[in-house]
Every structure is written in structure tokens, then in C-alpha cells.
Symmetry: C2
């Protein structure tokens, strides 16, 4: 039957390049007059949002930005950064959202490494930008937010079509605790699919209001700049994740969703303004980072906040793994529920089922105890590290992305992270997952946060040492906490020393264990020889 | 900067072919022990569903089915047809789900036209299959459901990877009111994206139970065989959409979602078992076909059923257009709400914004009155008609798919269908949308259903004639109904004659206007000359 028609030549009728830009194009048609963006005292409808994004593309094109050029933005969570998530790709350019908490020299490095030709700077960060650009540097067209409205109003709407859905959409520089930041390359197809997955898992609808607590410069806000728009929900911008502001927005503006690290949730739970949300249904929170602990979960439930734990990396467009709640678990005792929710979870709806691979390169059994590195693959994995093929190759293992996280696979298919590969403490030939010891410590009612690192030891190679932040007003001693852990874990896992102190953190709220390791090394001589 | 790494060579790490088969692969990993399929008194978990689908692929491969071969299934909404939605593509083959209400000679035509090499037949349809295959016909391997369990248990799990997401997944033959059925070709990519869109718009979650009232052989069940699985919800199979069975399932099995034509909803509303659903939240119903009328909407709301109107064609993987409810409309008076809900709506989240194009080939203004043909395009449009390039070309207009439906675009971007192109009545140079006259008729409390067709007329070219089914027990006259319409519409739009009768329907529940037109032509001589 050669030559018969089976659709091989079906043209554009049946095909459109996947790009998250189309979510805004559609929202502008479907939700034209609905509120899209609340930012400070400004409110934009979806028709306005789309018009502004196209005008931003016009501004960039008029200033000589060509397809493939990099456009950097240094701004907190305002409408400007949100508009850049559409306006920059509408110009055919590549968005580089800069972490506002970086030091000027780090920003300078990223600007140079990305080769950005334009930098848009929020007025509040002008001084940082000045310092980053002090002295000689490659030519860079700087746009201040003071000029932004005038430039938009003078510009013509502009749009460069996406001709390859696997082409570069944005570069997200990792906050790298060691070495230089690496530029994670996002493609249009991945951002489109990840946005759909986030909208579906979060249950975003046109009735939702999403509060921008998670920085948009962090992993492109887990693709929520696109997911919220796909659903036709409201973006409520929030330049600083201040707990009082968050509670106010929840109470007075009908916020239904936000994303946050457990440390932000802990701040919220302890804040004097904490009180039940007033929306009909619980506020849904996506929590990344460390697993939320039982007392935090209990407190948040009482406050009308429903936490969903998830896991991902900059390299995976944010949450590739979601701790999906199975309805059958509702009737379990609280502690079991908390233990189930603390697991990182399962592949999200568009992600490929994950693997956990042992040092021998084989998949570990799903027994809840065999540890291995978590591997991910699929449409929500980065193209690679920008201008760093060697690092890209090093991150891949047989076409799977190596997360650098060590975990176990439970019999029901849920993965639970035990530790970063480099944070595993090896003591007397036994592996100690620092996360496990930290969980034992935070189970103590007086402990707000804990971090455990390994310190070299003449007999055991390494022993664990803990840094603990007590809760405000708590009165707890090192000996008490060590005894508390020894009651719960094998004794060799209990910290040899516990230091009560504030914990150093990166700009995205991650505890900087490398700094703690340095500090702890000075304790090495005082740990005894047995 | 030639030769620098910007990810062009990123391999399979960042790419996976889109195919809805992966939704079941993932569900089997994520929801292994959860109920997946209830069919009669059988219950399969997601692990079992995945195993059975792979075994079905093994059965087919062992019988010589090669990638690209067509496998036909003649079955009502049972687990067998559901499993075929995965097992057939897992064998690399193309699913042809046959309409069980077709005449044997129509089934024979489709088997021959598709060149199916295997036919799976449900025992209840053996006699139909016998008749379809009577006499000489090309070789066909027939599998009866009586042998199905044994064959599955003896087979090895099998899987042919999808190597091109735009390749053929299934062929859905239209029930074509005129001419031979045409084979609409679905691609993996379109079904994957449409399934995500359906899951998102329906709000499917792992806590949902989807009742299979819509035939799976119709447009592959609007892609719900894949959408329900993507969400990890329960498929509740229902071989016949019997109202008593539907009410029972809603009350006793926690059904949260189903799809239905308004005629099925009308049957449900009038059924003696009708009573409020017992789930906490309203049951969500996707209603295709004719717009649900105000009295039906009111009745269904009282019964705890929340109707969402939508629109699509076999050629668009089902609902390409969804009548999204805007929260701002909640406070409008009931009649306005019903009028808004009666509109077909807006592009679904993965569909390209639709167009309405007048006879001059230009987009009509969005004024709610200018009529034009609705055009659709994008990833949820078919590859074309199988082995019919001429029909495929005829269905395209500048790379847009011509729906054959005439509608208007409202100022808020919502489309409202006025009529099928061929159902528009031209009377004295004026266009009369038969749908508008039908809506006026069904607004009468005694009218269950109405169909309006044109009849040739010496002076006006055509005049409208109506066929009306009164509600059970109603006592209404032709003159009364004509007066009722004249009170509401321009007088030239009122039917010249109204015949009280049951309406002929296709196997998918569509009113067969071509048959009514034939019947009505006999009235032509009695319509007078003025």
C-alpha cells in the first residue's frame, strides 16, 4: 500500500511548537478582563499583561536584541520580572533571572558568563548593579525600572515565533555552594510541560490566587510564572517573603496557593499574626527543600494550610518529584501520616519514573533501606550547563541526570532522600545520613532547625557534629539533645558535639553545610579518641 | 563564539517522546496498589492494569501484529476496550475502536478500510461481528472476550517504544451523517497533551472516580482513557449508560466526574431515581453536543451536578473548546448565567486560540452577531483522514482545520455555535440558525427536544419546519408552540409547521437532521405560497 495517505505530510494544522509563551497568548484571549497580576498597588488584566509582554519584546528588539541573545533581569518578585518571563522569549531572547541576594562580584560573573547584552534592574537594586558593573566590563545595555513604564508605552508590540521547542528559553544559574555558579539551560518544551504539571498537581484554576513567596529568580519560580497563567489564576507579586505580609495576603486577598521552603513555613507558623486562613478550603502550599517535620505539619493544618512536599533541582525545572497524597492514608495515625508526607515522592505527571542507582550502577531494590543516587530523565530535564560541556557530561550517567542526592526507594515506589552525596558521614565504615540525625533533632520540641556535618576523627574516620537553632525562648542543653537522639537512633549516629547557634544559609534559604564543616573542623581536636 | 556548548547536543536526558502510554507506566509506579479500573464485579489496581496492558501487547505481538498494524476492537465500555487504549499502542499498533451501534455492513466497511489485522470482539457483540464478517473478506484474526483472560495469562508482557510522537496512535471513524465514515488519525503527541488538558479542566485528582458514560469508541472517549490514568483516578466502566445505573454509581460509588450529551443529562434529570449526589462536592459533568438549556441546568444544580459545556469534533481529539466558567459570573441572574454557559467557550489550555472566519476568508469581528466558520489548529488536531488525502485537504483552510460549524465570537472571546454550515436555513436572503429556533422551542416547559430544518419554498427559497418531542405527560399544541417562538424571535424565524414526534438519532446520540430533512420535504407542498 505504498503511497497511500497516512498523515505523514500533515502540516501545521496538527502541530504547534510547545512554548509557555502561548499560555499568556491564550489567557489574554480567554481571561482578557480578569485580574492577572497584582504588584504593589498596580493591577493588570490578562489583556494588559499580554500587551505589556509584547511591548517589552518591542523594547528589547528596538534596542538591538536578536533571537538567542541573553537578557538579564535583577529584580525582586515584581510584575517586571514576571513580564520578563514572557517578554524576553517573545523577543526570541533568553532570560537570565539573577538572584538578588548574590554578591556584586557573583552577579558580574554571571553577566559575563552568560554574555547578557541587556540588564534590567529594579530601582531597589541599583546600588548592587552599580557595584557589579564597576570598572571595565563588556558593553551592556542597562534599563532601570524608573524608565520601564515609559519605554513600554513608547514601544510597539513585538513577537518572534518559536521555531524549535527544544531551543533555549532561559538560563538559571545555580547558587552553587562550591565553585562557580553553573548556568542551567531551560528549553521551551520542558517549561511548557512542567507548567502544565505544576498547574495540575497544585490544582490551579481561574479561581486561584497564587502568592509569589518563592523567588522567580530561583529555578524560574518552579515554572509557576507559566503555570499560574495557564490556569488563568491571579499572580500576587510579593517583593519580600515577609511573614506579616504573607498572613495579610492570605487573610485579605483570598490567596489559595504558594510555594515555600520549610524554613519559611516555620517562620510563618511562629509569627504573631499566624491565624487560620479565611478561604473556604485550605491554602495549598508546595514545600521544597528539607522535609516538613511533624510538629510543623500539625501546626500548619491547624492554620488551614495544606502542605504538599516536593523535590527537584534547578536542573529539572524545579519539582520533578511530588509527594502525592494517597487518599487511603487519611485514616492513618498522625505520626505515620507525617512520615509518609516527609518522603520526597514520585515522578510528577510529565516526568519519567525516577531511578535510584547504587555505587555498582544497578538500581537498588525498593526496600526502603538500600541507598543509591537518584537519577532523573525526560522532558523536564535541562539541556545542559551553558558553555560548560564538561560539567554537562559529568552530570549525566547513561543518558540519565545525576541529582547528587542519595535516597532510598520504598516498596510503594516513593523515594526518600537520605542525603546529598557529599553530606553522607562515613563513621567506622557505616554510612550516617546527616538528614536522619537532623530529623531526630528537630523532633525535639525546643529545636527550630538543625544541621549535622562530619568531622574527621582518628579512630572512626568521621563522627557527626550538630549545629542547632533552638526555638525562641526555649531552654535546652547540649547533653539533653544528645541523650534525646541516642534514645531514637543507633548510638554511633548521635552527634559527638552539639553547638547551639544560628545556621548560615544561601540566598535561597539552603543551609550552607560547607561553612559549618569548616567551623566544625576546629572542634576535631576536642572530640576524644574513642 | 562558534563551537561553544549551548545544549544543541543534549541527548535523551532532556527528551522523551510524548505518548499517553507513559501515563499508565507512571501510574503503575505511583499508584501501584490503588484501584484503577472497576468493570462489572472486577477490580484492577494500577499495577494490574499496566501488567494487563503489556500482556495484551504480548498477545498481539505473538499473533504477528507489527508496528503500524491496525487492531480493531468491538466492545462496549468495559476493561477490555480500556486496556486496548494502552495494549494496542504498546504493541506499536494503531487502535481502531468500533462504534458498537453501527450496522454490520458499516463495521465491515471500517474493518476493510482500516485494513485491521486483528479484531477483538466482546461476547455481547459476537452476532454483529458474525454478520459483519459474513462471506468473503480479507484475512482477520478474531479474538473473543471469552478467550481474552486465558490469552492474557499465557502472554509475555511486551512493549514497543514510541520513536516518533507524531506517529499514528489510533483511527476514529466518524459516524458521518452523509457518505462513508472517514478515519480520523490521532497522533501520540496530541492524545498526550489533550489528556493533560482534560485532566486539568475537569480537575481530576487521585481522589476522583470517573464514570464511563461516554462511549470509549467515540473520539477515544475524549481522551479520558488517558486523562483519568494520568491523574491516578478510578475508571468506573459502564457498558450501557442506563440512568438507573448512573444514579446508583453516583450514590453508592462516589463518582465525581462523567461526560455526557445533554440528551443523556435530560434522561437523568427526568428519571425516577434522580436525587442529590452524596459526594461532598458537586459531581462534575462535561457536556458536549447541544448547549444545555436553562431548565436542565437548574435541575442538575439542584441534583448536585455541576455542568461544564464544551465543544470539539472527532478531528480535534474531542473538546478543543471549553466553556470555562469565570468566577465573576457567579453573582449574575440565573438566565444570564445559563446564556453564558450555553456558549461553546474558549480554546482549552493546550489548544491554539480559535478563529471564526467569514465567507470572505477574513476573521469576523468579535461582536456576538457576525457569523463565520470556526477554524481550529494545533497539537490537538488530527493528522488527517486515513487513506483519504483529498478529504484531508478539503478540511484544511490555510493550515487551519475547518470545523464545518458556523458561530459567532462574543466580545469576551467566547465562541457560540449558531449552526452546522449545512443546517443554516436561508430564507428570503436571511440566514436562520436552526439552533437558535431550537433554543426558543426548548425554552418552552413542555418541550423535551426540538430539531429545526429548512424546507424549500417557492417564494422564500427555504422556510423552517420543526420536529419536537414533548415532555412525558405534556399537553401542548403546534399552534401554541409557533406562537411561543413568534413571541421570542423575528417572525420569519418561526417554524411554518411543527411536527410532534420522536427524533431520529445517530449511534452517538446526534439528531439525524438529514433524515428529518427528507421527511420534511414531503411537507413542502402544504406550506402555502406566502
Amino acid at each position: 500500500m505504498s503511497g497511500e495517505f497516512i498523515g505523514e505530510r500533515a502540516g501545521p494544522m496538527a502541530f504547534r511548537e510547545l512554548t509557555p509563551v502561548t499560555f499568556l497568548e491564550r489567557a489574554a484571549a480567554v481571561f482578557a478582563a480578569r485580574p492577572a497580576v497584582r504588584s504593589g498597588d498596580r493591577l493588570f488584566t490578562y489583556a494588559e499583561f499580554w500587551d505589556r509582554a509584547q511591548r517589552l519584546a518591542g523594547v528589547l528588539a528596538a534596542r538591538g536584541v536578536s533571537p538567542g541573545d541573553r537578557v538579564a533581569v535583577l529584580a525582586p518578585n515584581t510584575h517586571v520580572l514576571l513580564e520578563a518571563h514572557y517578554g524576553v522569549p517573545l523577543a526570541g531572547a533568553v532570560l537570565v533571572a539573577l538572584n538578588t541576594r548574590l554578591a556584586p562580584q557573583e552577579i558580574r560573573y554571571i553577566l559575563e558568563h552568560s554574555g547578557a547584552s541587556v540588564l534590567i534592574v529594579d530601582a531597589s537594586l541599583d546600588a548592587v548593579a552599580d557595584e557589579a558593573l564597576a570598572g571595565e566590563h563588556p558593553p551592556l545595555d542597562r534599563i532601570g525600572t524608573g524608565d520601564y513604564e515609559r519605554l513600554l508605552s513608547e514601544a510597539e508590540p513585538h513577537r518572534v515565533p518559536v521555531t524549535d521547542e527544544r531551543s533555549l528559553l532561559s538560563i538559571n544559574y545555580t547558587s552553587g555552594t562550591t565553585g562557580r555558579p553553573k548556568g542551567v539551560m531551560y528549553h521551551h518544551r520542558g517549561a511548557y510541560l512542567q507548567a502544565l504539571a505544576m498547574a495540575l498537581h497544585a490544582g490551579l484554576t481561574p479561581e486561584s490566587t497564587y502568592l509569589w513567596t518563592l523567588p522567580m529568580f530561583h529555578t524560574n519560580g518552579w515554572c509557576f510564572p507559566w503555570a499560574v497563567t495557564a490556569a488563568g489564576a491571579v499572580h500576587r507579586c510579593l517583593p519580600k517573603p515577609d511573614p506579616a505580609e504573607i498572613w495579610k495576603a492570605i487573610r485579605e486577598e483570598g490567596v489559595t496557593h504558594f510555594c515555600a521552603a520549610p524554613t519559611v513555613l516555620a517562620m510563618l507558623a511562629d509569627h504573631p499574626d499566624a491565624g487560620p486562613a479565611t478561604t473556604e478550603r485550605p491554602v495549598k502550599v508546595f514545600a521544597g527543600g528539607a522535609p516538613p517535620w511533624p510538629s510543623l505539619l500539625r501546626r500548619m493544618t491547624a492554620l488551614g494550610i495544606d502542605i504538599q512536599h516536593l523535590y527537584g533541582l534547578t536542573e529539572t525545572f524545579g519539582p520533578a518529584v511530588v509527594s502525592i497524597w494517597q487518599p487511603e492514608w487519611n485514616t492513618l495515625p498522625e505520626e505515620e501520616r507525617a512520615a509518609l508526607m516527609a518522603r520526597q515522592g514520585v515522578a510528577n505527571v510529565i516526568a519519567e519514573p525516577l531511578r535510584v542507582v547504587g555505587p555498582d550502577g544497578r538500581d537498588v531494590p525498593a526496600d526502603g533501606t538500600s541507598m543509591g543516587e537518584i537519577l532523573l530523565r525526560g522532558n523536564d530535564v535541562m539541556l545542559g550547563y551553558y558553555r560548560d560541556e564538561a560539567a554537562t557530561l559529568a552530570a549525566a550517567h547513561d543518558d540519565w541526570f545525576r541529582t547528587g542526592d542519595v535516597g532510598v526507594l520504598h516498596p510503594d515506589g516513593y523515594v526518600e532522600i537520605r542525603d546529598r552525596i557529599k553530606d553522607v558521614i562515613i563513621s567506622g565504615g557505616e554510612n550516617i545520613a546527616s538528614v536522619e540525625v537532623e530529623a531526630a533533632l528537630t523532633a525535639h520540641p525546643d529545636v527550630l532547625e538543625a544541621a549535622v556535618v562530619g568531622v574527621r576523627h582518628p579512630k572512626w574516620q568521621e563522627v557527626p557534629v550538630a549545629y542547632v537553632t533552638p526555638r525562641a525562648g526555649a531552654d535546652v542543653t547540649e547533653a539533653e539533645l544528645i541523650a534525646f537522639v541516642r534514645d531514637r537512633l543507633a548510638h554511633f549516629k548521635a552527634p559527638r558535639r552539639i553547638v547551639l547557634a544560628d545556621l548560615p544559609k544561601t540566598s535561597t534559604g539552603k543551609i550552607q553545610k560547607n561553612m559549618l564543616r569548616e567551623r566544625a573542623s576546629s572542634l576535631a581536636d576536642d572530640l576524644g579518641e574513642s
